[in-house]
Subunit: 287 residues, 2 copies
């Protein structure tokens, strides 16, 4: 299938690698606004050619929008408009998907578009703390879950193509309402990034001696602070778009941190123990 | 060297495996209060025999105290008392070390003991979120840092033996004052555990549907919440013993979380960006 990928970073680049390797995409056209990243992606062979957004939509049957969600919200209607123009000259059977971490605004912005049915909202639950085409890697999506939102608003044929694509990446599809997706994503993904950023800021603030951090950082600290390396371009729009859900989770989180503070401050060993034992229940869920 | 290990959990058990494998300890005697753990450690071959505390001290030249810090604070003076008795009959050349995550109280409690010089305070910076003898593994300490505290209060010969032992485990020794150790440990290790416990509590509170957590937990969440599986028996006394340092770190941490909350609440994208970019500096230190 003629596939175009807009945004050649970690996610777009990793999709390019595996969609080609698994034979889903014969030739891949790439769109990338950053000139250095674009040239690198071409040199690394992530894409076969660099094209403009217009060329990409006109040449490809499947368009993957893999840019930060702030940009995606602007580009999705533009792409659907291009589909409309083609549709005027006959039946447009092209499909566009996004792969962003928040879904409600995207689904809302496309809702009344005449070409809405050619858009499939997806969120492949995979990533690393690195970004850029050099962060792209084979197997990134392997065995992970992919959320497909509001699929009843998409043409079944378009959904089918997207399911086939994610099946090629060996992802498990999960169907969910976009509003629910954003609530869950706030709890299970977005909050972890904020706690990691805050942890990094705390340690950097207090440990002026960087060598101490390096020396004393055991595996525990490194894994907890890992997400603090994540890219601002990606995360600023996520925190904006999912603002209300994230604020609600943050309030619960601040309550829990304060419960620890109070128990430690009050020499309440039984209180500390019961908080820890309670938290240990996560073992049953995350192996 | 005749080595005795008191506490056959993750740390004691992993030391037993490697000290034997590297030829440092010919025969290892183990002391373990929990009957099931004791029998398991013997069956698994972590130790050659189970003995009482008194037998351990009387038979061994090097005693490793690998129990939670609350118990270690009680047992260290008892062991030094036993050394005193032996010393009355001649020169006692035995050495005791602890491997706890907080050092100030231990060093303080031993400070005026007549056998103080036979005690070396150490903190091997290694671990996993698992506990018990079944969590013991070879290579746990390999390449990591080991803090040796207040070594000037220990007999140079005793320090030398301990350095040799940690060299066998392939650990890098770092020398530090116990008070400073506890400040740094609060920042770089203890706080990560509290943020992880609080994250687990938040998600468990809100996500009544455990399947959603499992489905949506990408690698990011799993690594951030990993430490929340850690054992209460180990962590309650650490939080108690390092209370003041931890409270100070928690206050800074709560400030940072609130800074995120305020920026997100106030639609302040530039503020969010600058917090993230600031946090990204951790990249230079943690690879």
């Amino acid at each position: 299938m003629k596939t175009g990928i807009i945004g050649l970073g970690l996610i777009g680049g990793s999709m390019a690698i595996d969609l080609r390797r698994k034979g889903f995409a014969g030739s891949i056209a790439g769109v990338e606004a950053d000139k250095v990243n674009a040239a690198a992606a071409l040199n690394m062979g992530l894409v076969d050619r660099l094209v403009t957004l217009e060329e990409c939509v006109s040449e490809c049957d499947l368009v993957v929008l893999a840019v930060p969600v702030g940009a995606a919200v602007k580009m999705l209607p533009e792409i659907l408009d291009m589909f409309s123009k083609e549709d005027a000259q006959g039946k447009c059977r092209k499909t566009v998907i996004d792969v962003c971490s928040t879904k409600e605004q995207l689904v809302k912005i496309a809702h009344y578009h005449p070409m809405r049915s050619r858009y499939v909202a997806t969120h492949p639950m995979a990533g690393t703390e690195y970004s850029g085409p050099w962060a792209a890697m084979p197997g990134l999506f392997d065995g992970k879950a992919c959320i497909i939102c509001n699929h009843e608003e998409s043409d079944p044929a378009a959904v089918h193509i997207v399911e086939k694509m994610y099946d090629c990446l060996n992802m498990r599809p999960i169907y969910m309402n976009a509003v629910n997706h954003d609530v869950h994503a706030a709890y299970v993904s977005h909050i972890s990034h904020i706690t990691s950023f805050a942890l990094a800021l705390t340690v950097l603030d207090k440990e002026k001696n960087e060598k101490h951090i390096f020396d004393l950082a055991s595996g525990g600290f490194s894994s907890t602070v890992r997400l603090a390396k994540s890219n601002a371009d990606m995360w600023v729009p996520i925190f904006s778009q999912n603002r209300e859900n994230i604020l609600r989770v943050l309030d619960t989180y601040i309550e829990k941190i304060n419960a620890f503070r109070k128990a430690i401050d009050g020499f309440d060993e039984e209180g500390i123990r019961s908080l820890i034992v309670d938290a240990n229940r996560i073992k049953r869920i995350i192996r």
